[in-house]
Amino acid sequence: MGHDLAPVLELRQVSRSFGPIEVLHGVDIALQPGRVHALIGENGAGKSTMMKIMAGYQPPSSGQVALDGKPIAFASIGEAEARGISLIHQEFNLAEQLTVEENIFLGRELHRGPFLDKPAMRARVRELLAALDCRVPPERRVAQLSNSDKQMVEIAKALLRDTRVLIMDEPTAVLTRAETAVLLRQVRALRAAGTAVLFTSHKLDEVAEIADDLTIMRDGAVVWTGLAAGMDEHGMATAMVGREMSDLFPPKDSTPGEIALEVTGLNVPGHARDIGLTLRRGEVLGVAGLIGSGRTETFEALCGLRPGSGRVRLFGREVRINHPWQAQALGMCYLTEDRKTRGLLLQKGMRENLTLQALAKFDRGLIDTRAEDRALDQAIADFDIRGHRGALVGNLSGGNQQKLLFAKTLLADPEIIIIDEPTRGIDIGTKQQMYGFIRRLAAQGRAIVVISSEMQEVIGLADRVLVMRHGRITGELAGSDATEEAIVRLAMGVAVSAPQQESAT
């Protein structure tokens, strides 16, 4: 690469195996101070593994990690951190029961004599959070934070250290656009201060926006590296996936049939009020809105996952749903946005996870494990799940976990499927597959709700879009009316047609 600066941190011909399987095959990467380096690739390409090696979380099986040009073997994560290398994980790494402040200072608390110096820590935390435009009180428990606030806390934690190299694994996957903008601003500030930044993202527009250098991976090897300016989004997608990318969204060609779901006056205490909607077979209904607008809670309540009240009719029949298994028995399933803590058993294998939701299908008094294996073969083929079959699900790459979660829910054969953030952390090639899959489910006559924070996704996929704000539906957009601008207006509450003044929730 044509830069004059010497790299701070490098991988030289690094390979890494887990058991008998090699997942990184001799990769090279070099991070320069004061530059933002983006690492992109399909799910399971090895991005997270590479980052963990760079930050001392895992040793390479062969090859070298070099810091300031000199080979180094980090004895521990602490050592890498002490040398100014911080990694923010793809999955949150916070102590849920501690406060924001305690998390940020965890392991590096300030002392005055034998006691904690709370005022000093609080002041520092406020400063850090203010710089991140994050309005969370330092004494709030992390368990009570939204995903995006958690991400900000993670970043604040890394910034607390004198970080020369900041490595972020999909930092924006759980952030809204506005929050992403804040993060990118922070990244620019770090770059200006001379920090070397490495990040991954499946959102290629972000990559194009902020990266100086770019490395593209496929199947555990680097396939392209160079100046980010030398690649447009289309080129990135093609290089990542290894084939020419056609249209991301499939045509909306299904015809709406009978009414599948009819909701009136649904109230979810503390989250949503007076929700009404209808959904037909063959239809994909998009639900847009800012994070915190009550979308997830509304549909969780609908499926009996949290308390709520209102009238619900499924296929014309009035029903009461108090538990998720009742919803499933009636043909309605909710696919969670939170695959790590609500979606999958990370300590179990793929097979047990896949069949958990539809175990009755395999129950012949005893469980038919052969049928389970066949179902897993089928799911692996249908969804192109990559990973070692015997691996714990917690060791699958994030995107492959998402695909498994999808397969798991569909195994229960629901007629009405509510999918919350279907493509979070999924690579662009797989996204295209997922969209195709969702449309095909609609064409089979199923009724589908897609909740998404990615506006392009809602617009490209849905026949109609509902927009929520502060726990209420503020509008419905169909066809060519569903534009980003219109959605943003309804989501932010500046629409002309919006009801007078929403009562503060």
Binding site: P324, L345, L346, L356, L359, R389
Partner: protein, 328 residues
């Protein structure tokens, strides 16, 4: 490219650890005392293991599903007391014979089931920690049995005792009933844990109850069933236990809960739930009873140190579990 080959089956320390421990004890016992491997001693050890063993099988399910039950020891004592009272008072009407024994057994099973359901209902409906609920019911049953016995001992009517005794002392082909029942419970337990939806659901709930809930598992019902099942097995164990001594007192079943929990953990079931194996529990029970048996047969170490050795083994088992986990 998806790798479709199966993961090689690795014998981790958590699998072979307990087995090796058991073998070591057997070898040590045989070397220290020639009578150790004698038929009488083996049958004796197994029969004594049966009570704790039957309870521990039920406990395996409770722990696997992320729960705990501290009340089983006092529950057993209470059920034993109740059984004796009912049988004694039905004796004049029914006379010594099979009907009165069947009545006693029915009382034990129903009492165990109810007690387990009660624990389970409070835990699942009111959402209170299993530790607290069962700590409470442990105190309640212990106090109830003391009250029933008026601070002394409840004894089965003498004529009835000699009629009922064969349930403990005799059996088929020289294998006594407690051993046979224990074996049956173990085989059924292993199948249920390993191969049924219920066993799968227990592991899922213990592993992450949120995931189980979002996967449409009937979490509360499965949990309730683990406690009810354990209560029922406590009833079964009591049926085997009463004919042995023919009495119940405040001292009956003391510390059984801890022995059962210890056996489960030594056997490789994870204390915080998510993974359990019934055969491991059997090994755990055998290890615990062999230790006291060997100490009794030899005068190498004082039998009073029994508890210390058992305690050390429990800690060792957990250390081995941790290491095998870190190694994956």
């Amino acid at each position: 490219m998806t790798d479709t080959t199966k993961a090689p089956i690795r014998l981790s320390m958590s699998v072979i650890g307990p087995v090796l421990g058991l073998l070591a004890l057997i070898v040590a016992g045989a070397l220290l005392n020639p009578n150790f491997l004698g038929w009488d001693n083996i049958v004796n050890v197994l029969a004594r293991s049966a009570f704790i063993g039957i309870i521990a099988v039920g406990m395996t399910f409770v722990i696997t599903a992320g729960g705990l039950d501290l009340s089983v020891g006092s529950m057993a004592a209470f059920i034993a007391g109740l059984m004796i009272l009912v049988m004694n008072s039905a004796l004049p009407a029914l006379g010594v014979g099979i009907p009165v024994v069947l009545l006693g057994m029915a009382v034990a099973l129903a009492g165990g089931l109810l007690a387990g359901l009660l624990n389970g209902l409070i835990i699942t409906r009111l959402g209170i920690e299993a530790f607290i609920v069962t700590l409470g019911s442990m105190g309640i049953y212990r106090s109830l049995v003391t009250w029933l016995a008026d601070g002394g001992t409840l004894s089965l009517d003498f004529s009835l005792r000699s009629f009922y005794q064969p349930v403990y002392y005799s059996g088929i082909l020289g294998i006594s009933w407690p051993i046979l029942v224990f074996a049956l419970v173990v085989v059924l337990g292993e199948i249920v844990m390993r191969a049924t939806a219920f066993g799968r659901h227990c592991a899922a709930i213990g592993s992450n109850d949120q995931v189980a809930k979002y996967s449409s598992v009937r979490v509360a019902r499965v949990r309730l069933m683990t406690y009810a099942g354990l209560g029922l097995l406590v009833g079964v164990a009591t049926i085997m236990y009463v004919p042995r001594l023919g009495s119940a007192s405040a001292a009956t079943g003391v510390l059984w809960e801890l022995e059962a929990i210890a056996a489960v953990i030594i056997g490789g079931t994870v204390l915080k739930g998510g993974f359990g194996r019934v055969w491991g529990t059997v090994i755990g029970v055998l290890i615990l009873s062999l230790i006291s048996n060997i100490l009794n047969l030899t005068d190498f170490v004082s039998p009073y140190l029994n508890g210390a050795i058992q305690g050390a083994i429990i800690i060792l088992a957990v250390v081995l579990q941790r290491e095998s986990k870190a190694g994956t």
